[in-house]
Symmetry: D2
Subunit: 146 residues, 4 copies
Amino acid sequence: MNEFVATNPDFAAVVRHAVLSMPFAQLLGFDYSRIEPGVTEIVLPYRDDLSFRPGFFAGAVVGSLADFAAVSAAFTLVPKGWFVATVDYDVKVVAPPAGERLIARGRVIKPGRTLLFAAADVFVERDGSESLCAVCVATARAAESR
Amino acid sequence: MNEFVATNPDFAAVVRHAVLSMPFAQLLGFDYSRIEPGVTEIVLPYRDDLSFRPGFFAGAVVGSLADFAAVSAAFTLVPKGWFVATVDYDVKVVAPPAGERLIARGRVIKPGRTLLFAAADVFVERDGSESLCAVCVATARAAESR
Amino acid sequence: MNEFVATNPDFAAVVRHAVLSMPFAQLLGFDYSRIEPGVTEIVLPYRDDLSFRPGFFAGAVVGSLADFAAVSAAFTLVPKGWFVATVDYDVKVVAPPAGERLIARGRVIKPGRTLLFAAADVFVERDGSESLCAVCVATARAAESR
Amino acid sequence: MNEFVATNPDFAAVVRHAVLSMPFAQLLGFDYSRIEPGVTEIVLPYRDDLSFRPGFFAGAVVGSLADFAAVSAAFTLVPKGWFVATVDYDVKVVAPPAGERLIARGRVIKPGRTLLFAAADVFVERDGSESLCAVCVATARAAESR
């Protein structure tokens, strides 16, 4: 299904470096556990300052992580020297995000040259088992870096 | 147009206190400049750790602020002792969010008893003038606090 | 607010002709009551074959009309010889669409050269008074006709 | 993945009958090729009056079909005597829908008692091979029939 080919051989290093060097990514404190062509996985351990109330990740954190996972998946497929930016993202919070960490899995739905459609599912891990807490669809715009 | 009536006379204090005491709201560092029945305005000054790259607010920060503004607007209209939670939010980033502060204006579109539809426009202020950088529609679920 | 300028002086005739000559637009049976730069209004009288159950417009009809109104608004602002196509639309049905006719009001939120953001509010008219039944945000892609 | 259980043993007959007896469903002319707990498949052959221009399904038809497929999937999981209605649907048209028929595959993402989250992928079949042309996420509201 995710049989995409990355045109930039260094896509994984580029995505990891570019995204994790963003100050807001550092403020959230997530890391990638997987970067493949058209596919990403992002992990974010629980911290109180990311919560809505103790034990529950804030909805906007879940949405932010979904946006990063989906748009990063798009980022893996752009040519060398190109970057991506979010055009839109739609997040549905389907269950309370209570647990020890969030895992956001991004995937490209359809890659175009300048518009890429992607999605992400966000899971919350609690006592070692994962459950879905949010789904996201996103559109990313790709352009050559200036 | 926003001729809504708040059933809880203390709605402004309740919304302000409940939202601003959320740890993630504090991490973002925003404040309310307006809370009226069905209407909110949230202001967030620029900080480097909220950026995508220097000078530009991260897209996920813009989206998070829009979510808070829209769902807070819904929050103003629920009965005393009730709370709200985000069901979904859809954000479109229509222009680069570069500037000194973000201003998110939330408004209720249609209030129901348990589902409330709301929207938010996010403006970025630069050199004293505002421009629209994102729009958001959101659905909030209301329930009695347990 | 909707102070847009149409670059194509014939925008109203172009939009009206192009959209109303689409077979599916004819099947739905709507007409424009307003076409201005960045703004449209579409009217669709009730028919049983557009219903969900007698007296209620089907949700998908409401969504379709919202898409047409929003994307038509974008269409008013593209250069001569260009066309638009829907990239995405998000519809929220905020009240039951029961009444004699639907009125969808489209407006451009932000026009770009190749991506235009637009919105539409859909009202249902019943016994002479209008009430909001749906809101929509949409993205349209513009390209030169080949 | 779609390991849902239908509480109404007659769910397939109920969904098929209720949806296909809707006048607008009949106007579109689709049929179900699959109805299982939490899962649906809808097929719609090409007709000129469903087109944008000859050979291409109108975007609003694609979106309408996606809405029906997603919300029907939710419908399979509600108790006997309950019905569902669309709260929102978000459609992204990822490729031109040109072909002989549309196939919309709906699936429940997360079923709640009164709110159910669902999705649909829409494929267009051309010369015997399918390709993805749209994705949709939707929220349905369930209630007891009065």
